[in-house]
Amino acid sequence: MQLIISFIILMLCAVPAFAIDGQQLLKQIDRNLNPESFESYRKLINIEPDGTRKEFTLYSVKKGTDKVASLFLAPASDKGRTTLRLGDNMWLYIPNVGKPVRITSLQSVVGGVFNNADILQLDYDAEYTVEKVEEKGNDYLLHLKAKTKSVAYDRIRLWADRGKKLPNKIECLTEAGMLIKTIYFKDIKDFGGIVRPATVETDSPLYKGYRSVMLYAKLKKRTFKDEVFTLNGMVMLDSLR
């Protein structure tokens, strides 16, 4: 009897130790992927089925969970374009147009498989609730559900390395469970203490044969004033470089 009671007490203690707090895990994945406030350069490559490529270079800054802005540096036809995201609000500034206009997260300012929400990605924890965590071999599989209707993808399945707590693969789904795109995280690199994938690839059943790739460079922690993430600040983003 004593043995049974001891076993029950042991089990009660052990269960909380092994239970995974999904939201906490997602927060940790977010932090491993990016510091809370940072700057980075990205090259975005759209690859067509015949191998034709088009490349874009962006300078990006992020602060906290809901502020991110990007400036196009190349090609010349897109140079000076700036995108700003403040929570669910997104704007695009085109130098010729001369003023920021509101855009939607599902649009794509560059064409190809990446849309605006992918380019101006916030913390997953800010936009998604973890419904379930499964252990799949060396990976955790997190089932995420959008917190609001204004999020680009209603559901996400996120595979993360159990040891590194970094994503390997993300599947983006509609509310009905239809796969919109798959994002692959590759090429883990040390950016001065921030160890994360340097290559992010995506394909989509909606764009058969097309691929988009995002390469990271010069990613580093940096703090910014909130005023950088305003309509007045977004047209001055180049001055931060």
Binding site: A76, I94, S239
Partner: protein, 427 residues
């Protein structure tokens, strides 16, 4: 053994190819303290003239014209900047070339020339020539109190600015009011500076207060009485869902005036306080088509009756020219540009539908744009095909049909139709 060697070679080639598949040269990211860029553009076009239209008669009454009139337009827009820490100098000249059977012209305009200091991320000040582009509307901006009139057929083109001094102070908060920004400005006007802004050798003042309140962009705008009369405005823009944006503008101009030709052929002035407004939306469908729809009420626009009197005057002037060879009436009417400017009447509807990358053709965007004058039922319809798949090259083929009865706005435009190829190369 040869088979093994072949496998080794193939493996080496495959590994090399994958290693070099994507590269990111960090040296290309270094910021330079100067920048020179811009674009060169060629726009050959064919115009199908409406020889009986009022605007054709006013422009070409003394010229022999064919029904089909080709023209060629070229543009070189340069952007040159110097930037060092908190200071920036920016110059944007535009060289425009026009060549048609009727005229040839080369014109240099300085669109923007300004010097800006930004001692802090919250504050910047600017002195020089600048286009402010106030307002949230896509095709029209009734609250753009200090800008030149935008062409709704090409709303995304750069505009020539005015000489002014302005500053921006912005603050952010962690509350429903996320941002507040104050933008005062001064715009001097005399015979040599901003001479087309108005008259009276005055120092004009104005400003804008911007709020991001409950996820809604709101601007309160003012133009003080000076070379033009005072004006007050409000605009807003908000995303209602991830694929639906709503925007609007409201402008109240005191003592707004417009030149009116009376039935005796004399120019008089009509006007009074004018309220203009615009309500628009931007909607993205599940099929990736973007709809932009705007209704515009021009409070200082011509009435149907005023336009009828104007067209009667043109008919009489044309009859006089044909009977006597006297062109003074036609010349006088032709000098009055306000009857031929965009959105010259009172009620308009703008619709643009653009489909992103149909049939999986990347960077290909077909679009259809229509502007309808709701007062007389005339309209323009412009289908276009745009392709941006070649780096730094933008190709656009655009056709426009102008449809309307006699004595309607689009029925009296010089063209019945126009087709234009635009080739733009960025550098």
């Amino acid at each position: 053994m040869p088979r093994l060697a072949l496998i080794c070679v193939l493996l080496f080639v495959a590994v090399s190819a994958s290693a070099e598949e994507f590269s990111f040269d960090e040296a290309e990211l270094d910021k330079k303290w100067y920048h020179l860029g811009g674009y060169a553009e060629a726009r050959p076009a064919l115009n199908l003239l409406d020889k009986d239209a009022a605007q054709t008669r006013l422009r070409y009454y003394d010229k022999n014209t064919d029904d089909v009139l080709p023209d060629f337009n070229g543009k070189l827009l340069l952007e040159w900047s110097l930037e060092k820490e908190w200071a920036k100098l920016f110059v944007q000249p535009s060289l425009d070339y026009t060549n048609s059977r009727l005229n040839k012209d080369l014109k240099l305009s300085w669109y923007e020339v300004w010097f800006q200091v930004k001692p802090d991320d919250s504050f910047k000040a600017l002195l020089g020539k600048k286009s402010l582009r106030w307002g949230k509307g896509y095709a029209w901006n009734p609250v753009a109190f200090f800008d030149r009139l935008k062409n709704p057929d090409e709303p995304e083109l750069s505009l020539e600015g005015f000489w002014l001094a302005t500053a921006d102070y912005v603050r952010s908060f962690d509350s429903p009011l996320k941002t507040i920004a104050v933008t005062p400005l001064i715009l001097p006007q005399n015979h040599s500076l901003n001479d087309d802004f108005g008259s009276g050798d005055r120092i004009n003042w104005g400003g804008k207060l911007y709020l991001l309140l409950y996820d809604t962009d709101i601007d309160l705008l003012v133009r003080g009485k000076g070379s033009r009369d005072a004006a007050y405005g409000l605009d807003f823009s908000r995303n209602l869902t991830t694929n639906f944006e709503l925007h609007g503008e409201l402008a109240w101009e005191l003592n707004a005036e417009r030149p009116v030709i009376n039935s005796a052929g004399q120019q008089t002035v009509a006007g009074g306080d004018a309220v203009s407004w615009l309500l628009g939306l931007r909607y993205l469908t599940e099929q990736d088509a973007t709809w932009i729809l705007e209704y515009y009420r021009n409070g200082n626009g011509y009435t149907r009756q005023e336009m009828d009197v104007y067209y009667q005057n043109v008919d009489q002037a044309w009859a006089t020219w044909q009977q006597t060879g006297t062109s003074s009436q036609l010349q006088r009417l032709g000098q009055n540009q306000s009857y031929s400017r965009p959105a010259t009447m009172q009620d308009y509807l703008y619709l643009r539908i653009s489909q992103k990358e149909p049939w999986d053709i990347l960077y290909f965007t077909p679009a259809l744009t229509s502007i309808t004058n709701l007062r007389d039922g005339s309209f323009s319809a412009s289908p276009e095909l745009a392709y941006t798949g070649i780096t730094n090259l933008e190709l656009r083929l655009k056709g426009t049909a102008l449809v309307g009865s006699r004595r309607s706005e689009y029925g009296e435009k010089p063209n019945d139709a126009r087709i234009e190829l635009r080739v733009r190369w960025y550098f």
